[in-house]
Symmetry: C2
Subunit: 289 residues, 2 copies
């Protein structure tokens, strides 16, 4: 047996990201065992039927039992549920095991991990965040290729990876993701800009249009790609974003305030050369991408 | 010769929309002559080389001369330039000719048309607006299929179409567009919501990100589809949007103000059940689409 080899994986939360992780590992040639647990029996059954997991736990206690035997435990539930599982798993797992997560915010999780993991005799915790997803969740939308070309961020508290962590990172590479390590606080600030702000914006615009037009047929008739793209994320579920808003409140509020001020600036300059400057600055941003 | 048959078309402005109109007419089986004029010799040459137009004017005067001989004159330039051409064409064209446009705002153009066209011995003016485009313009991006499935709006001042107008509408149908007639003021208010607000929003967000991050590599590394879609229109040129902002200022300002207030509401409710309501209302908007 290779030191630090990943032979058993437990995925807690077999929705879009969890089930896609299982499918992606299989597609990349992982031959070990993958177990799964989800509080929704529908998600769990879907994940098993599509081959994302081999076995499933019968309940939370069964999941903890499977956790004892796993090399790597992947927490693929919303952020506050990740913190719950971190607490429940800590007394069950030990040195030689790796717990990792896929939560959208990282500062609270990374700080919490430092209190429960990584010490003498304790399992290692690797905070992670794959930048992949869809506007709807669920195992039924899972794909082996979801992470292909996507960025998988890590915000480790410690510098030296264990052999097991190194192995797990290799698998993340095998499933096609690029990896980048960054500071957890910086992660949350950047994600507020590139992910949470676009989400809140799309939600606010969709809600505003719903209030303004409801089911007026004209909007469906004349709305084109611009409307479709800027409101697409309006379909995202509150269940996932609640925890993001709760665990990254200040950075998100700061980006929202900045955008409100920027929109006011545009509004006040619709008939002045200030609008040209705004378009030219926007053009520069896009030209870099 | 069929009464009101369209046998000669002049396209003034052979950029993305103008050149695509020429290509689309040809692809739909139009066998008459199509002339073109553009103040940019590059656009004009590109349009001729791709077969969007057969002949070209040598200058503005040449375009007016071609206008005398055309059954239909299509004004495919920015809104204020459309108004200039409306004024210059009025004394040159006469009953039995149709002038139409593709401008993004319709109230000013429709009101202006009532003062210059549609009277005894005058040409008819049909205000139009194809809901099609790309974030970049230019003849090089023109496509025969650009209007396929797109909505082509009209805001006619009069109720009874002439035979020539009816023929032109048939051609718009042949090139694959759906058509809808609406009141010009209502058009501008609706377009403020579904087109101009998304544009200003995307420009403001892109400009804000440019100011915040410039060429920081992290943004490129972690920005995903959400960022890409919400900033795509940030590439749109000021040259086209200046006229939209100048001719639809009040409706655009109203939608911007409404969005600013909505973002403030989201910001103040990041940790309250108000966020759930906002997501649920947004979900309803998307579920209808």
């Amino acid at each position: 047996m290779v030191e630090g080899a990943v032979e058993r994986v437990l995925i807690i939360g077999t929705g879009l990201i969890g089930a896609s992780t299982g499918l992606a590992l299989r597609a990349a040639g992982f031959t070990g065992r993958i177990d799964g647990w989800d509080q929704s029996s529908l998600e769990l059954r879907a994940a098993r039927e599509m081959g994302a997991v081999d076995g499933v736990a019968g309940n939370d206690w069964g999941a903890l039992e499977l956790a004892r035997q796993a090399d790597v435990i992947v927490l693929a539930v919303p952020v506050l549920a990740i913190k719950d599982w971190m607490q429940r798993l800590a007394p069950v797992v030990s040195a030689g095991q790796l717990v990792t997560d896929v939560g959208s915010t990282k500062l609270e999780i990374t700080e919490f991990a430092a209190t429960l993991y990584g010490g003498e005799g304790q399992a290692v915790f690797l905070p992670g965040h794959p930048m992949a997803g869809k506007e709807s969740g669920g195992a039924m939308l899972a794909e082996a290729g979801l992470f292909n070309g996507a960025m998988w961020l890590f915000t480790p508290a410690t510098q030296e990876p264990t052999a097991l962590e190194a192995q797990w990172r290799s698998w993340i590479g095998f499933i096609g993701a690029r990896m980048l390590d960054m500071d957890a606080k910086r992660h949350d600030e950047l994600c507020a800009w590139v992910s949470h702000l676009p989400q809140m914006l799309s939600t606010a615009l969709s809600a505003l249009l719903e209030e303004e037009f409801g089911d007026a047929p004209e909007i469906a008739a004349i709305g084109g790609r611009a409307l479709r793209e800027t409101t697409r994320l309006g379909a995202s579920p509150y269940s996932m974003w609640r925890d993001v808003a709760l665990t990254n409140t200040k950075p998100i509020a700061e980006t929202l305030l900045a955008l409100e001020q920027r929109l006011m600036h545009v509004r006040e300059n619709l008939r002045t050369p200030g609008l040209r400057e705004e378009f030219e600055q926007a053009n520069r941003f896009r030209a870099r991408r």
